[in-house]
């Protein structure tokens, strides 16, 4: 899966768990929490959606890797490769 596709997939999850947020202009290099009204509970939801929809496990120690869209893509790409996608 390409990094762009992973970023798009993360935005889809965010639009589901934080439906009030405007995600049309998210800067991939800026932490998500600086651009959107997301709290730690929302990040738990992102982790849960990755698990449920994509079979991806993110251990708690790696949560900081989900800070921005860019870091999400960097971190998740090998995991998606391991799932065969």
């Amino acid at each position: 899966m390409t990094k762009e596709a992973i970023q798009s997939l993360i935005l889809d999850i965010i639009s589901d768990i934080a439906p009030d947020e405007d995600i049309s202009n998210v800067n991939p290099n800026v932490p998500l929490r600086e651009q959107l009204d997301l709290d730690s509970m929302d990040f738990l939801d992102i982790v849960m959606e990755l698990r449920k929809k994509h079979g991806i496990e993110v251990p708690e120690s790696d949560y900081p890797q989900l800070a921005s869209l860019h870091s999400c893509a960097e971190y998740l790409q090998p995991k998606f490769q391991n799932t065969g996608r």
Binding site: I17, A18, P19, D20, M41, L44, D45, M48, R51, K52
Partner: protein, 461 residues
């Protein structure tokens, strides 16, 4: 069908059994329970209670959502016009069931994220609380939020959320790592009241009063008491229910033979009708603004009524069977607290839920108390089904406008009145006009044998 062994109210329905269920009188209940003895045993404590400084408590706002109305105006108009609102919905695992569903706009007062992360009961409570505050004309920005209390009656809470999560993990081979972290905040027993606190930034006390289907009145009584104790200056009090989203509630009633069925959904809930066959479960909510009279008058508040009497008692008898004697005692206790006679009551809004035995037992109690009076009787569940924890609060609200229009809304869907449910002045199928309506008595009874009664009077300074 043997009526003795048949499901009754208190929602509570026994499974049909081979052996008839013993009636209260067959179970060796404690004597004495007649009026004279009740008076003997309770008069002194009551008088002692009323010796302390006593505040008059008034209703200054109401916010509600019912299957047939999202404002009191709309709700009342439909009650007067005989318009029910029950529909057939698809219930997980069960298929089509009858239910009363509300269509208020939750996004009016909540973000979509709040709605997603919270509960339906929370959304109902937040909607009702905002509407009540608006109706009360309180200058909300200047209200000291630490002096506001939230007291929400609930029949049950957490079934919906738990069922949803079990269904969710069933899609993942019951692996609990897919269980949501939202589960605990959604299912704690204070959830709907807590969602109101967070949404409206209220820092005074908040909690729910679990009292089965007596809960709506119990919420109001709690608010009344906290104002008396000077614990708060404003009480947001009443009841809510999200029970239509829990298959277990429906399946439980169905297993007990107590879930209403009728080809026409709007005729399914038919208290007092000879052919009634059970409860229609509904969602809804109704929260009131209560204040001490002096505070309400100081700010020139609209005063919709005064709470002048109440009572809560327990059957101490059975988990599901209703018990007319304790119901009667509860009504009499409320009357005594209000210093009223039965003939002083203009409208009794009955609890009757359209179960064979529940309606009969309540009518026995009411006939005993209100014999030889002109009191009118009506019922709201025939329109909206049983809104569970919201029922008492909603049903009172539907009658409050009678103080202004002197009309009594009917109970509908009575095609053949059950002779066992005969009451003088039972208002059947058509609203009636009365010369003057000054007092409403509302009954609510629930499982485990909890009874609650509230008496509200037209306000006169």
């Amino acid at each position: 069908m043997n009526k003795v062994s048949q499901p009754s109210d208190n929602h509570g329905q026994r499974p049909l059994q081979n052996e008839p269920i013993a009636r209260p009188e067959e179970r060796g209940r404690q004597e004495p329970t007649d009026v004279g003895d009740l008076a003997q045993t309770t008069r002194t404590p009551l008088e002692a209670i009323f010796k302390r400084p006593f505040h008059r408590i008034v209703i200054t706002g109401v916010g509600l959502t019912a299957p047939n109305g999202n404002t009191l105006t709309e709700f009342r108009a439909n009650l007067l016009a005989g318009k029910a609102a029950i529909q057939r919905i698809d219930m997980r695992y069960m298929g089509p069931v009858l239910a009363g569903i509300c269509d208020f706009d939750a996004t009016r007062y909540q973000s979509r994220k709040e709605i997603r992360n919270g509960t339906r009961a929370g959304s109902i409570a937040v909607y009702c609380a905002h509407e009540a505050v608006k109706d009360s004309q309180l200058d909300w920005d200047s209200v000291d939020k630490s002096r506001v209390g939230i007291y929400v009656g609930t029949t049950e809470h957490g079934n919906v959320e738990t069922e949803n999560e079990i269904f969710n993990i069933s899609q993942f081979n019951y692996d609990t790592k897919y269980w949501t972290h939202h589960h605990n905040p959604r299912t704690v027993a204070n959830n709907p009241a807590g969602e109101v606190s967070i949404n409206l930034k209220i820092t005074g006390p908040h909690y729910c009063i679990g009292a089965a289907c007596a809960a709506g009145n119990a919420g109001l009584i709690q608010g009344f008491q906290m104002l008396q104790l000077n614990e708060v200056d404003v009480a947001i009090a009443g009841g809510v229910s999200e029970s239509v989203r829990a298959f277990g509630i429906f399946a439980g009633f169905k297993s007990q033979g107590a879930l209403a069925e009728h080809p026409d959904p709007n005729k399914a809930s038919r208290p007092f009708d000879r052919d009634r066959n059970g409860i229609v479960v509904s969602e809804g909510g109704c929260l009131y603004i209560l204040e001490r009279l002096e505070d309400a008058q100081k700010r020139g508040a609209p005063i919709l009524g005064e709470i002048v009497g109440y009572a809560i008692n327990s059957d101490a008898f059975d988990t599901v069977l209703p018990y007319s004697e304790r119901q009667r005692e509860c009504v009499e206790l409320a009357l005594r607290k209000a210093k009223m006679q039965p003939g002083d009551i203009d409208i009794v809004n009955t609890h009757a839920t359209s179960t064979p035995q529940g309606d009969t037992q309540e009518c026995i109690a009411l006939r005993e108390v209100f014999a030889d009076t002109d009191t009118c009787f009506n019922n709201t569940k025939s329109f909206i089904g049983h809104a569970m924890g919201a029922a008492g609060a909603l049903e009172l609200a539907g009658n409050l406008p009678s103080f202004d229009d002197n009309r009594v809304h009917p109970t509908i869907n009575v095609e053949n009145l059950d002779p066992e449910c005969k009451l003088n002045n039972l208002v059947l199928n058509q609203a009636i006009d009365r010369p003057s309506i000054r007092t409403i008595l509302n009954t609510s009874f629930g499982m485990l044998g909890i009874n609650s009664v509230l008496i509200v009077k037209k306000f006169t300074p």
